[in-house]
């Protein structure tokens, strides 16, 4: 296949990267792992005149900062998430979510920032991060700002990032949730986009749900919080019937489309099923 020609830059720091993004505007795209953008270029879906590589920008650490939470560098790969000891201790659900993505070779180069900023509705990291109330730090020529993960997405492939902004880190904050999980339903066990993705985080004490955050992927233009379902669960005693009812409510909170992989009807029912199952798993496993 043919990769079209492009100008290539590899800035040494974020300020330089921002400057280049401003300079070239719409003509430029950031380039991290490349597993998404190069495929789009080969398929002639995208033809950026300029690629700005992030390879010299660092941002590959995962560390726990006391009082803040787990700070994940934007250029961490998905396998970095899978293998992180910090995440294994603090947020195993994030590692487990990353492990369900694509396949090993892609996980070795695909990055957290790449997955998030591509903003495909079926992306796997946004739902689990949203359920854990994560925030994203954006840095541009005008300084830096922090945005809640769930506020980052505006439409399929669209985020609130300004032209000159880069994602530098994702922070999963200290929180009271006692259980969390992400279930991805794909059409085969590896190398499959999520037909639906359900992430939940719950705070359960004495078998009562004190708090719940539920994020649904692949069933709307962006990942969505199932807020009605969360409200329904708060204060209630855990039971199979409760979780089944939660699934029904969640299935009404999504707006899936029919595409080459699945019909809207199927996706809706899958949300019902996997919301129920994700809640059960998060409650039973009892770890975030």
């Amino acid at each position: 296949m043919y990769l079209p020609d492009f100008e290539y830059y590899a800035p040494d720091n974020i300020a330089e990267a921002s400057k280049l993004l401003t300079q070239f505007g719409e003509k430029a795209k950031l380039f991290a792992g490349g597993t998404d953008i190069l495929v789009k270029m080969k398929n002639e879906v995208l033809a950026p005149e300029v690629l700005i590589s992030t390879k010299n920008l660092g941002m590959k650490e995962i560390e726990y900062v006391s009082g803040k939470g787990v700070v994940i560098g934007a250029r961490c790969t998905h396998n970095d998430l899978v293998k992180s000891e910090t995440l294994a201790k603090k947020y195993a659900s994030v590692s487990n979510a990353a492990r369900q993505m694509a396949h090993n070779q892609v996980r070795n180069v695909g990055t957290v920032a790449g997955n998030i900023s591509n903003a495909v509705p079926s992306a796997d990291l946004p739902p689990i991060f949203i359920s854990l109330d994560a925030t994203v730090k954006l840095v541009g020529s005008n300084g830096e700002r922090t945005v809640a993960m769930e506020d980052l997405f505006t439409g399929p492939g669209k985020t609130v990032l300004a032209q000159d902004e880069l994602i530098t880190e994702v922070v999963v904050p200290d929180q009271k949730m006692t259980g969390s999980t992400y279930i991805k339903f794909g059409l085969r066990k590896s190398g499959a986009l999520a037909v639906v993705g359900v992430a939940v985080a719950v705070q359960v004490e004495n078998n009562v749900i004190k708090d719940a955050r539920i994020a649904l992927g692949a069933v709307a233009p962006t990942p969505v919080r199932a807020k009605k379902t969360e409200e329904f669960l708060k204060g209630k005693t855990v039971s199979d019937e409760l979780l089944a009812e939660a699934g029904v409510i969640a299935s009404a909170e999504c707006k899936p489309i029919s595409d080459i992989r699945a019909s809207a009807e199927y996706r809706t029912d899958l949300i019902r099923i996997f919301t129920k199952r994700a809640l059960r798993k998060a409650i039973d496993e009892g770890h975030v």
């Binding site: 296949m1 290539y8 090993n104 070779q105 892609v106 180069v109 590896s190």
Partner: protein
């Protein structure tokens, strides 16, 4: 960017020095040169194959700094100063790697087209996890598609090559 030269038509090329299978090669490439083509065309190393060229089939798998990656989705300019291991470099000179021996013993290949990538993925796995479970073996090669073997003998071969717990 350093190591960039521009010709009379304004086309930019970059100097790339990369360690492939223990030998350092220095070549001049365009930005849009993919690692898989760099290996096959610039270095005449045809062990790495082109199949789907979109990162789905894994027959282009090489190790980049020890990690299995799809070389059809890596830019040659991005491997400057790094280490690449291809199928041709898994064996140690004349002696076959244990994975290669087990592949032969278990007839873990038929047409052989996926085999280069399969062996590199397996070697990357055993380097990091010398005694994987069957699930971990299947997970490691899930990005390597094989239409001939159904993976049956491949999984047996990799488990046989692994250190016994």
């Amino acid at each position: 960017m350093a190591n960039c030269i521009v010709d009379k038509d304004g086309i930019k090329r970059y100097l790339v020095s990369v360690n492939v299978n223990g030998g350092v090669f220095t070549k001049v490439v365009k930005a849009n040169t993919l690692l898989v083509n760099f290996l096959r065309e610039e270095l005449d190393m045809i062990g790495t194959k082109k199949g789907c060229e979109l990162g789905d089939c894994g027959c282009c798998t090489v190790m980049l700094d020890g990690n299995a990656v799809n070389s059809c989705l890596v830019l040659a300019v991005d491997v400057d100063g790094r280490e690449v291991t291809t199928a041709e470099g898994v064996a140690d000179g004349e002696d076959l790697d244990i994975i290669q021996e087990k592949f032969i013993e278990h007839a873990a290949f038929q047409c052989g087209f996926c085999t280069s990538g399969m062996i590199v993925s397996s070697r990357a796995l055993l380097n990091e996890n010398p005694s994987p479970s069957e699930y971990e073996v299947r997970e490691a090669i899930a990005g390597n598609l094989c239409r001939c073997t159904g993976y049956v003998n491949i999984v047996d071969a990799v488990l046989d090559a692994a250190e016994k717990k």
